[in-house]
């Protein structure tokens, strides 16, 4: 029933208010005397060199792309698993074909070296 979802939204609101509320209360009673050194980006006491927003390794992008592919697969498996007994042999064979294609892809990306972290 849709109304059963209402408590989640109430909870979301209360959880957000806890975070915002404590920060607000803390901002009223905490001391506030920043100086130049305190406000520097932390780099182990050395004056910061260069901007922080620089290029980083392409591996992180590959992980993100692989995640999208395999997470969609996981989401696709969930409803199948829940209805497994109802779908019977047809559902089982169907999913084995799907998983087979995916496993071939998995072996391919492994052989291509997409899973290596260098």
């Amino acid at each position: 029933m849709p109304q059963n979802y209402v408590p989640i939204f109430i909870f979301l609101l209360i959880a957000f208010l806890i975070g915002a509320g404590t920060v607000l209360v803390a901002s009223l009673i905490r001391p506030n005397n920043p100086d130049k050194v305190k406000l520097m980006p932390y780099e182990c006491g050395i004056d910061p060199v260069d901007s922080a927003r620089k290029r980083y390794t392409v591996r992180f992008y590959i992980v993100a792309i692989l995640f999208v592919v395999f997470d969609v697969e996981t989401v696709f498996l969930f409803p199948w698993a829940v209805q497994f007994k109802l779908l019977g042999l047809f559902g089982f064979v169907e999913m084995m074909v799907f998983l087979g294609i995916l496993i071939v892809g998995y072996i391919w990306i492994w052989k291509k070296g997409a899973l290596e972290w260098i």
Partner: protein, 358 residues
Amino acid sequence: MPMNAGTFILVAVVKIVIAVFVLLTACAYTVWLERKVVGHIQNRWGPTRVGPFGLLQPLADGLKFILKEDLTPPYVNRTIYILAPMLALTMALTSIALIPVGPVIHAFGISTPIQITGVVNSATGRGADINIGLLIILGITSLGVYGIALAGWSSNSKYSLLGALRASAQMVSYEIALGLSLVGVLILSGTFSLHAIVEMQQGTWFGFIPKWNIFRGQIFAFFIYLMAAFAETNRVPFDLPEAESELVAGYHTEYSAMKFAMFFVAEYANMITVACLASILFLGGWSGPVFGPAILQALLPVFWFALRIVFFMFVYIWVRGTLPRFRYDQLMGFGWKFLFPLALANILITALVVAWRA
């Protein structure tokens, strides 16, 4: 007895306030337990000064977090910088809303399950909840990644950015193994409703082996889940995002006082949620011997459930006191080349066995 809308909201708010209070206290005392247990593992005492056995230490820590100076550096993206810890905390706390803690209780003329989204089925008088509870939990916990990624990016500091990148890559990688390890349980139980999954695990075989999913062939899934969960919550041995010897503190390097505390509480709340999910899906939820007078019968299931959570918290701390940290390539290799095929194999075998029996 069917409830009208006002009573429904009132009951929900009462349950939410209790749940938030219990959860925040549990987070605080998990920190205490961690310091105490790790202390004893390393042959020292842990906190002893504040109160007996250092029991008031979490209170002192909380006060300190509120009274400390909270710097917002000038080079950050201000809006995102302030909202990121709130996002992380909100998502970490909210996922507890779906967790069933116990069966139906009767109080003040109202019957309700000990679960925030739980309702009583008016036809059977038994508890029920949202029929996609597990999916919502997975969704909400995934949203927690945004808090970390945005925090690291908006901080505009090199350590923060690297920590956030590592954290998000690690969390999305292990989310796949985590999701796949649950499929076996779903095949066995045939529902997303956490309440129904627990009800299915009540009872025993031969009077002493409990009918938990871990004893119904899901033992490998349980360990895959546990390892993925450690990585998902950024705990030792997978605490690469905050590896203090290389990244200072990772994505929360530039955060101080209350905003840092929010990341801290979010991490512990996530640990508790993951432990709750593990005990519901694999260890029979609140099932356990129930006896004695009515009040004891109502409270014992909650006690059994809490006992499992404490057990998982202890395992978390125990592992932290025992294992060293992985290297990053080992971490990614472990997730993609070991846990992922193992989880797939578990699904195939479970599906085969269930299909064979049917």
